[in-house]
Symmetry: C3
Subunit: 352 residues, 3 copies
């Protein structure tokens, strides 16, 4: 076998993508490339987030060089002002606004501390937004505003995130767990994606588990589940429950539980915005633990970046993607095929 690399693949556009943390966008506009489009994020006078193509229709000045003002975003070159629909509402020294004086706007939703953009031409569909259970609920601690710039196509990132097997080798100094490597991974479809998971059964709780919940003298079962949700969300769901307890949402939420989210947004064909969000139901309010955990997560994600970017470079050099296939490829391949189908849906929708 020999799979070709292809960096001309369309993105799934009629979807929500994280474009920036709410905290990033204050009184100054922010430039960001999203799905290879230049976008400017800004706030209207009432605080609503706006997102426009980062290009003034006059001389193509980036609107992100302008400023937030009464009525919208003002171009820094000749002062044309645009509202969050991309409509020009004033031109200095000129009363008539030509119909061509407009720029593309993107529907936005602000949720989970992030500004999300709908990048397609179809009507924005709020039901396609991801869910983050526990977010904003009492009893759950949130680490947010996490960001890394990864130098790889987002498909390489998704292959990495849906592949538990690499943790033993790539992350041997952080989350790698040699004990887990021989327990097979189950793969199943979910509502809008897949999960690859395994249960370590009837094992002693770790010291951290014991500190977080009273497991008595008993043993525990530990779930590690790698989720993929269309179009580009990944999360790891780790749950520790007493051995013998039923395995459901209720028991897992009563145990020790962690969700580690990565919202991937293609920047270009070869780079990815890697927004990460971590939520857990133990050690709530423990700032020192938060700092240690953040450092460990950042290190782990940077190890992924080093590997993914090296693979990106080698795919570009060789024109190949893969020369042999392993058993562990099943979940990653399923995830990529689901993306292919979304892209095909876009193509059909545009043709009609």
């Amino acid at each position: 076998m020999s799979l070709k690399a292809d960096f001309t693949q369309e993105f799934a556009r009629n979807q929500w993508y994280a474009a920036g943390w709410s905290a990033e966008v204050g009184t100054r506009p922010v430039a960001r490339r999203i799905l290879d489009q230049p976008v400017v994020l800004f706030r209207m006078p009432d605080g609503t987030a706006g997102a426009l193509e980062d290009q003034c229709p006059h001389r193509l000045a980036p609107l992100s060089l302008g400023e937030c003002t009464d009525g919208g975003l003002r171009c820094g070159y000749h002062g044309m002002v645009f509202d969050q629909n991309g409509t020009c509402i004033s031109i200095p020294g000129q009363d008539v606004i030509p119909p061509t004086a407009k720029t593309r706007s993107y529907p936005t939703i602000e949720r989970f501390g992030l500004i999300w953009l709908w990048m397609g031409r179809n009507v924005a569909d709020e039901t396609r937004m991801p869910h983050v259970p526990g977010y904003g609920q009492p009893g759950w601690e949130i680490l947010e505003n996490g960001y890394q710039h990864h130098l790889a196509n987002y498909r390489i990132e998704i292959e990495n995130l849906m592949d538990p097997a690499h943790t033993t080798f790539l992350h041997k100094e952080t989350i790698g767990n040699p004990a887990a490597k021989n327990i097979p991974v189950e793969v199943s479809k979910t509502k809008s994606g897949i999960k690859a998971y395994r249960w370590l059964q009837n094992i002693p709780p770790t010291p951290l588990d014991r500190e977080s919940r009273d497991f008595g003298a008993g043993r525990v079962d530990r779930q590690i589940a790698f989720h993929f949700q269309l179009p580009a969300t990944s999360f790891v769901d780790i749950a520790v429950i007493p051995t013998g307890a039923e395995r459901n949402e209720e028991t897992m939420n009563a145990g020790v539980r962690t969700f580690s989210y990565k919202f991937l947004t293609p920047e270009t064909q070869t780079t990815t915005h890697f927004f990460w969000l971590h939520i857990r139901n133990f050690r709530v309010g423990d700032d020192e633990f938060n700092r240690t955990l953040t450092a460990s997560l950042e290190k782990t994600f940077e190890e992924d970046n080093v590997m993914a970017s090296a693979i990106q470079s080698e795919q570009e050099r060789s024109g190949l993607r893969q020369r042999t296939s392993l058993a562990i490829d099943r979940a990653p391949m399923m995830a990529l095929r689901m993306i292919d189908r979304l892209v095909e849906e876009d193509r059909v929708a545009e043709a009609t």
Copy 2:
């Protein structure tokens, strides 16, 4: 409307372009890309400026890595010596000089503290040199040796320089003048270009005006004129005269007057040498004022560079140049059309 960007347009070659300040070229040769050609500037033993293609005909070593020597410019690799006509006059270890041992030379004129090159194949025409009234005359102060490297095609620079409307927004901290923005700009042809100008009438003189000339208790008229001269010179002519005085060269020179020159030389299709020269008839010999003014001019031109280079990048990315047209585009468009006609003249001349 939607204009395409085009970075394959020919330059107007049968013209004089500023290549470097005289003060830059001493005993060591200087490499400079001019109209996408590699050029070496140097001095002959008698001090005359020479300009050759920066390429030894032997192994293509840049002659700018060599040194000025008796007879001309000596290649730093094997010691071949070339005079200012590009003729090889000696080859170490070899008596016969092959006829192919020559390199292209460019006619030069040294004037206004600058070395000017004639870049075309036609006979150099000295009458096409720009004029700088007041240069070297008593009563006029000169700021020279100004240089910035701008990351944009020179046409984007010319659009910027012929467009008074942008100063209110892009230069709001330096030369921007909100009072001026509602006074219409007149556009007219000149001998070798165009000017866009307006007179602010019957206004009080500024404190600087009062310190420089005795306007008594009277009011003044202030001209701001943006000139373009083929192929790529821009200057702003600001004159303050007593209200009621006739508007001519004599009264303007008797008032407070400033010429702010920019000599643009295309380096490549996407970068421009920005030589600036400033001349005024007040505060002559005031070094502190010179320093303050230089800093303000440098800041203003760098603001232009930031905007022009952002537009350059966006034109390259999108393949577009403009998507809507405003009233203020008239003078810039006239300037660009005049350049187009020069390029067409070159084409016709070469075909004959």
Copy 3:
């Protein structure tokens, strides 16, 4: 005349090329581009040097991000282990090794402190290895581990190294010798290359010569010979013998003698690994002299790099290689033609 530049020329592949100093490759693998191929150098558990294509056949991870382990080189992503033949010998979590799980290996020889790779598809031919007389013999001092990264195609480097005429100009502060420039250079073929040489006859020995050998009150003859050996070795052989002595290996080894080797290995079409090795039969064990000499050699080779990389850039810009030919071009042209013939041999061998 006008020769075109061509950076698509094939390399002579069925040859040995220096890939790295032995001292560079310890317990960690080393990534290096050789003849435009990504190669990883590593050591097997027994210390033998291995060289594989730096690409895991699974997801194309660079094997150089992995580690040396029992049995071979382990990929840092999913832990597949490869031996020095490129055969996968284990896959974590999977018993069956698919036949596609292999990567290309390169034959290696470790000699003269360097690891050499055979880059072709033919059977590796040890007789094609270069010779370094005196290496490892008593009475000879070695400077090794010399390396520079040169920004030019290796043919430009070879032209430089086979051309004694440039030293007067390019190296005027180090090895340039104006006295030599009018003595003609003889060029002759050798067993696997050519040499360009001249004898300075009946001259007084230098102070360094006198300190190194007892020439009495007599005069000396000094040979400077520039050798080229296929595919990409250059060395300068300098020998000082008493005037009147016969000129042969024995007398030259009894005199003051130096071999200055450069092993050139194409990295890409536009860059070259420049491994240098210096060996001499005088001032053996003189560390201070070694330091001075090393600094002088490094400076000289860097001057070559500056010139070669400028020529590389100008060849790329202009598409040309040479516009006029000089008498001194003879030896360089012979060397390049010999490389052309090797490339043609490869082509014929592959077609059969």
